[in-house]
Symmetry: C2
Subunit: 203 residues, 2 copies
DNA sequence: CAACGATACGGACCGCCGGTCCGTTTTGCA
DNA sequence: TGCAAAACGGACCGGCGGTCCGTATCGTTG
């Protein structure tokens, strides 16, 4: 697993070049799978060997790109202000988190698609998914009257799957705001039904 | 698109043989993608040419298998008795439909996985998905106080995605009944919250 | 600054897989 | 039985992810 950073400046420069090239390629080309590793190498002005040494394999490159793009949001979630940050009350944080995920996928459609539909290993094993899931689960657990937090977290995240987002945005011509609104609505509905009888207490 | 049936008996026999071979191969092998077309052809005692002539391409074979397995459920949904059939009141039919989908995916894990994660074209374009979606949407539409039927149908179906099911059953060791119960719970929660303010009218 | 070991480079090369092609065989009709 | 149409099957192809190894570059040490 050659994922260790190198100190040599040519290595570092090449790594950057590859990342940049891959980024533009993925956002330009229609489908992620007609961006080949050779394409990326060529676009970065680099040999294939270099590319694979730097990132291990295709999934490694995708992961690196994804994590880089995800970093700001990760910050906002872990140490930022409400409504994403940890100080937010659960009822408000859950929709905010899911909205953030949705927006991220809208802004990085091709990339998310590439990462999720790469058959080599289930998206559910990716540790960025693990992060979202366990966070969401933890927050859900703080909402009184809500059971099955684990499954619920999965189910809610499933509503933001990259290919679904792609389908809604592309095929069904749904607008960004339309989607955000409907997802918000959906989340609300899931959270709304309180204990036994519908209570929806105003806070 | 060579999908048209042939009347020649060798063609028919071979088609059956391929279907059967593929079926057992997919249920035996760990991951769908280490069942190659050559494997299937060999197991069926048939040349690759025959296989591709009969089903067009890999996706075609998967689709044929899937549709065959789906047929009984399709019957039950279209013309069967409650709780799946058309006579069922919407509130009861929605959970029943989703439970049926879930059970189907549990019973055909590898196959569903193969079909959904085949990158060549989004699962949302498959017409069996279209069928489930439009049916579910239609039923949801009959539930008073429920908006966004289209999106809601997508979101509910997303909770039964094959790779999620696989993950829950495999990685998280969730039992069949556990999953069914949690999905039922989730569906209930989505349907429960009435119009704007929690109403949950008893029928 | 010279020299050298360590490290990275890059593109020819490999194995595999989905899909095609075409000479050969089977089928069923007259 | 003869014959055209249809199906057979496996050699073949193109392209992809990934590897290998001779070569070029780096940076460190005297």
């Amino acid at each position: 697993m050659p994922e260790r950073q190198s100190s040599r400046k040519d290595a570092i420069r090449n790594r950057e070049a590859v990342l940049a090239a891959a980024d533009t390629l993925f956002s330009r080309r229609e489908s992620p799978e007609d961006v080949t590793m050779a394409d990326v190498a060529a676009a970065a002005g680099v040999g294939k060997g270099t590319l694979f040494r730097a990132f291990g394999d295709r999934a490694g490159l995708l992961r690196a790109l994804y994590e880089a793009r995800l970093e700001p949001i990760r910050q906002a979630v872990e140490t930022g202000p409400p409504p994403l940050g940890p100080a937010t009350p659960p009822h408000d944080r859950v929709p905010a988190l899911l909205d953030a995920v949705l927006c991220f996928k809208l802004d990085n459609r091709r990339l998310a698609l590439a990462l999720e539909e790469d058959g080599s290993s289930s998206p559910y094993r990716a540790e960025h998914y693990e992060r979202w899931h366990s966070l969401l689960r933890a927050v859900l657990e703080q909402i009184p009257g809500l059971t099955d937090s684990d499954f619920t977290a999965h189910a809610l995240l499933a509503a933001t799957r990259a290919d679904l987002v792609e389908h809604l945005a592309g095929e069904e011509r749904m607008t960004r705001e339309g989607m955000r609104a409907q997802l918000a609505n959906f989340v609300t509905r899931v959270l709304a039904s309180g204990p036994p009888q519908g209570l929806t207490a105003e806070e």
